[in-house]
Amino acid sequence: MKKIEELLDKYFEGATSCAEEQQLKDYFSQEKEIPSHLQAYRDLFVSLAQLSEMKTKQENKTVLMPVVTTIHRHRLFMQAAASAAILFCLSVGGGIYYHSKDAQQGYVIINGERYTDKNLVLSCMEKSLSEVTDYPEDFLFLEGEYQE
């Protein structure tokens, strides 16, 4: 008990070390039977003990935070990359499917409207071929007679 009183005197003189201050905090927060003349200091040291405990927890948190953030960012990037890859594959696959479907089906687009009726497609093809040439025989020269 005498030691605690001495430590208290030293504390109020500002001459205690960290270990001694910790000793005081431990005593007032752990000891159940504190003499009445020392009761007045109990609240002070219990509060100080709680405060230093909170500070330690906060310090631990700040150390952990960057690690968590980096992992989180990495996961987010991986998720975004995976989503982008899936979207890309879907759009490419869709494009290939659309083109292969067109190649299999054949179609004519008239005034922006798409038709796949075989007879209509063929009649439009015939019409387009008859439109580009008035004299098909003109084309016969192409086998090298008048080469550029």
Binding site: S128, V132, F139, L142
Partner: protein, 151 residues
């Protein structure tokens, strides 16, 4: 992280490479199909695989554009560019501009394949363009043209 970016970029490049050679992008006229194919006053035809086989073709695309004055100079400009790839040419030129043209292009890779462009601007102001790719030669094409002319 840098390594991950490198891997990701490589993957994207690898996925994009096959797409470059996919379409008939070596010809300027293809832009005409893309630009005017779905517009009002246009008729665009693409044949099915089954129809193509019947005519010994691997690709047939045609477009007729009417009611669009801007399409004619654009088509003429594209034809002027694409005819540089032609080995045989016959043209009707009016006031310095191509109004009718028949072009047999140099084959791309397969020696047995032929490529043709048929082009015409009508008196009514519409423009017609046909692109054909396949094993048919010019004689086959003429037969085809006669066939549709007489029918």
């Amino acid at each position: 992280m840098k390594q991950l970016f490198k891997r990701w970029n490589t993957l994207v490049i690898m996925l994009l490479i096959p797409l470059c050679g996919w379409a008939q992008k070596d010809l300027k006229i293809m832009a005409l199909f893309d630009e005017y194919g779905k517009k009002k006053g246009s008729t665009m035809v693409t044949l099915s695989k089954e129809m193509l086989e019947a005519y010994d073709m691997t690709l047939y695309k045609s477009i007729t554009i009417s009611e669009n004055e801007g399409a004619i100079p654009k088509a003429q400009k594209y034809i002027t560019e694409d005819k540089k790839k032609a080995k045989n040419i016959k043209e009707v030129i009016n006031k310095g501009l191509v109004v009718s043209g028949y072009y047999q292009l140099i084959a791309k890779t397969d020696k047995g394949m032929n490529r043709f462009i048929l082009f015409k601007v009508s008196r009514k102001g519409s423009v017609s363009l046909v692109y054909i790719e396949g094993k048919l030669d010019s004689e086959d094409l003429v037969t085809l043209l006669f066939m549709f002319k007489t029918e």
